[in-house]
């Protein structure tokens, strides 16, 4: 079977929804600029691109009309490159990488753009016309449970105190602040330009975050709970994209290689504790890779909530020092459809930067799922 590699990783700045610098930029405009830059930087021949696979959690409105195809055309790819939009909520753009990997191994193409987009400013979480199935809802199913409540459930189940969560959030901001100050995002960020508006900096990171400050925040979801806005990932606008190729193609065309995809997985779990999804997904992915958690040097664990991330860390026994070296979603932000490509691309580039061998990227997914990718150095 062909080897699959991640050649390049780019993303837009991640900025706060509604008040951030990208709130007035259309999502297709954001991700088209990221995609165009990805193609140019990587040097891939556009004629060789088989498909643009776009992850998006609420693919309607400005993210509608099969936004992947729209973006392929906007980014200047030749008309021969196809486009498909995929939805696995927060795991959408990691799923787009998995689909590219599967296609390469099926001999169904050599070069894929796996991207993700979400403007949480412009398309509301839940969509414009939410229409849950009333029978399923009335049956007591937790399929539509609010994400905040799932975080509260995990905090209770794993006895994660508000203080623990706040410590975790402070650390996330601290790592992200340091990475930003050291220019560690410079290579991955594509400035987004709209008229005179040029956005090149992440907007969610709060360097001033302190435990005292967080302790003053009101409870966000449950008046008797422990989760606040400060220990949740913020509503975010942003896009991310990676170039996924067969290793043979990358070598033949002299493309950079960040990491090889070693194994992938998805797993279901109870919707009311969807945040624990990374645990079964990671277990499956490691098994398929023939590795133990201890073999993994770099972990990118999406921080939907501090409580959720801590529950995964405790349940699976992850080493805090290997997790989210440049900060996680609590600090960086979490544009639902874009986060999977960001953390997988990040894990790949960290392998190279840190000179390590194995990496894991994993996410929880609303409705009760997890998704995981194991990478190895090329």
């Amino acid at each position: 079977m062909k080897n699959v590699v991640i050649c390049e990783f780019k993303r837009s700045p991640f900025t706060l929804a509604n008040k951030g610098a990208l709130a007035k930029v259309r999502p297709d405009d954001i991700v088209a600029q990221v995609t165009k830059n990805l193609v140019e930087t990587s040097g891939v021949n556009g004629d060789d691109v088989e498909d643009v696979i776009m992850g998006c959690s609420f693919p309607e409105g400005e993210q509608g009309f099969n936004v992947a195809r729209i973006v392929a055309l906007m980014a200047g790819l030749p008309q021969t490159a196809a486009g498909t939009t995929v939805n696995r909520f927060c795991g959408s753009s990691m799923q787009s990488i998995h689909m590219a990997a599967g296609a390469v191994q099926m001999n169904a193409g050599d070069a894929f753009i796996s991207a993700g987009i979400e403007s949480m400013s412009r398309i509301p979480m839940g969509g414009f016309n939410p229409a849950p199935n009333p029978a399923l809802y009335e049956s007591g199913s937790q399929a539509y449970v609010s994400m905040g409540v799932t975080a509260e459930n995990l905090a209770k189940q794993y006895d994660i105190s508000r203080d623990d969560q706040e410590e975790f959030a402070v650390l996330s901001h601290k790592k992200a602040t340091a990475a930003q100050a050291d220019g560690k995002f410079d290579d991955e960020i594509v400035p987004i330009v709209q008229g005179n508006n040029r956005v090149e900096q992440d907007g969610c990171i709060r360097p001033e975050t302190s435990k005292e400050g967080l302790a003053d925040l009101k409870l966000a979801f449950d008046e008797s709970g422990s989760v606040t806005a400060g220990t949740s990932s913020p509503l975010t606008d942003g896009a991310a994209a990676v170039l996924v190729c067969s290793e043979d193609y990358a070598d033949a065309n002299g493309l950079k290689k960040l990491a090889r995809i070693k194994s992938i997985s998805v797993a279901g779990c109870a919707p009311e504790v969807m945040g624990i999804g990374p645990v079964p997904a990671t277990r499956k992915a490691l098994e398929r890779a023939g590795l133990e958690l201890g073999d993994i040097d770099i972990i990118e664990l999406n921080e939907a909530f501090a409580a959720q991330a801590l529950a995964v860390i405790r349940e699976s026994g992850m080493d805090m020092d290997r997790i989210n070296l440049d900060g996680g979603a609590v600090a960086m932000g979490h544009p639902l459809g874009a986060s999977g490509a960001r953390i997988t691309g990040k894990a790949a580039s960290l392998l190279k930067r840190e000179g390590k061998q194995f990496a894991l990227a994993t996410q929880c997914i609303g409705g009760g799922q997890g998704i995981a990718t194991v990478l190895e150095a090329c």
Binding site: P130, P134, A135, S146, A220
Partner: protein, 782 residues
Amino acid sequence: MPNESNTIKKVAVIGAGVMGSGIAAHVANAGIPVVLLDIVPEGAENRSVIAEGAVQKLLKQKPAPLMHKRNAKRITTGNLEDDLELVADCDWICEAIIEQVAPKHDLYKRLDGVRKQGSIVTSNTSTIPLNKLVEGLPESFARDFAITHFFNPPRYMRLLELVADEKTRADAMDALRAFGDVALGKEVVDCKDTPGFIANRIGIYWSYTALSAAYDFGLTVEETDSIVGKPMGIPKTGIFGLIDLTGIDLAPHVNASMLDLLPDSDPFCQAFREDHPLNAQIMKMIGEGYTGRKGKGGFYRMVKDNGRRSKEALDLTTGEYRPTVKAKLASAKAAKKGLRTLAEYDDKGGQYAWHVLSRVLSYAAMLVPEISDDIVSIDNAMKTGYAWKYGPFEQIDQLGTEWFAEKLEADGLPVPEIVKVAAGRPLYKEEGETAYYLTLSGDYAEIAVDEGAWMLADKKRGRERIDGNKSASLWDIGDGVVCLEFHSKMNSIDAEMTEMLAKAAKIDKKGYKALVIGNDADNFCVGANIGVALFAANAAMWPVIEQAISALQNALMALKYAPFPVVAAPAGMALGGGCEVVLHADAVQPHAESYMGLVEVGVGLLPAGGGTKELTTRAIMNPKRPGGAMPAIASVFEAISTAKVATSAEEARDMLIVRPGDTVTMNRTRVLPDAKAKALALAEDYTAPEPVEISLPGATARAAFDMAVQGFVLQGKATKYDSVVSAAVANVVSGGDTDIKDVITEKKLLQLERDGFVSLIKNNATLDRIEHMLTTGKPLRN
């Protein structure tokens, strides 16, 4: 809205302090662009920081100076050094800077260099005479200059005093008068160039007299406010509560400026004692930061003890705070029988009341003709500038001119000329359809009614109603138009009112061609009479309740589909059933200060007079709504389930209560005339609306609403019972047992409203809410 003859199309306000920014906000409320300039503070990086900061404050202030946040966009900010050119195309420039002659003169000279020919310049001064303001300025400037004196806060206080002198152009005054009246909605009173003009001249004397006498008579703060409050037609805060509200630090300034401007012979100068113990107390309070509600507290203050808030009052003799004690003066109770009973009552409250009345009413009366030639202007000024329920001359009539004169004489007090001239006759009288006031000559003069500005009382005078009962009446207001007037207790809806609503839907049978629904009360209608509902529920008279709901629905539907136009003319509160009446009219002609909303969930009910149906159908049929039914009905669900009330007619537009074709009337006295004009316009070629049919999502929407409500319950923002009431609302708004591909009628939605209403009123938690509202006036969060 400004009419077409309005010549003031752009305004500048100089000075972005409390008054300047408030005036600018209100000009913006009138739909007129306004420039707001202030000085450049020393060393400021942002040179327009004062004006810009003032607009930011306007957006946050409560009560809101802006009728809608978007009105702020009509205000262009700048500074006097870089942006003076912005006034060049303004038709009216209003100065509201520091109360000193030199800086004002400086500014006028600079304005004269840039302003366009024929533009009007006014000062909002409250203390500087006009003749001093124009001293040394060119004749051409003086011709364009006047005083426009607003009251704080400019959006809410209705009085606008205008002062001109002999040089001022008459057409400039006409323009200001028209703009103040129609565009700004003010009661415009022409004043003479005398100190304090009308309202402050009397008001400052009144305030000093009432406060110092309270001390002299040994009354407590609470006792004083129980007399100089509702019994004397003063806002219910009472006078101590009032000066806490306006700011205690203001008192020494206004007193000093009046003492400075008035001749020593004036009764105010005669009565004022610098060394009065209350003055010393006030100075001490100001020194310690007790400037009223804006400071640490005033004559009252709120204290927190173990998390419990309680109210304290100042002991006037010791100067110390103590818990408030409810006043129990027999005179205050007796005052229900009238002002004279109060003034005659033999306790310290009655004696105090007479002391204040004798001084203040005499003072006002002796100022005719010094401050105004007619008593009507003075009464109007006090009613709209100081929120007195009755003007001083109306109060004298309540006492009786003969009784008043005799009692003054008995006390050795001078009898004012106008009271002597009255010789026992009333100062106001009505004959036939006309009202008159007494002049100094001893003759009565007619109070002319402007066809564009009248209250229903002006149309009722000397006439019989067409029909009516104890809760509502039908009046012929001319030109084939009928006015339906509500006059039940607090204008709440009861069976009698429903009966008149039904009768109003048949006025065409009597040859009338249009209906206006409106009245003169402070509040259009506060909703259904829930006391009656509670009584019926406690007796388990369910069919009676359902019958009452049906009757209201039928009456409102009959009005909606009547073969003639119906125009609702709300002012003040139009809540619950009152809002439902408005929603069933063909058009609304609201007063700008209308507070409308469906608030039934506060008492555990849902709007079942057709209000839920009406908002839902409007939201679905709104051509501007985004695709998908959910955003449209979600906004309706949110508004009803949170009892949202629009705090202005403009805000009611956002809630679809006021529709795109509806216009807003700024002046309260023009609401009914404008509504009548609209009704007549609609009556030409009128056809009743087509029956409405819409599609609603049904169960899926209920699930989505429930998800949201459960989230609020978990967050502690909604109670368990809120979710029960919300579910009943959701059932109607979502269309009940329907599907998005089905079509449903208004009839079906009305049935859903009734079913929901009856199911809720059978719930004890709803009855608890009703009972709590009736006894405390506040909603119960159960």
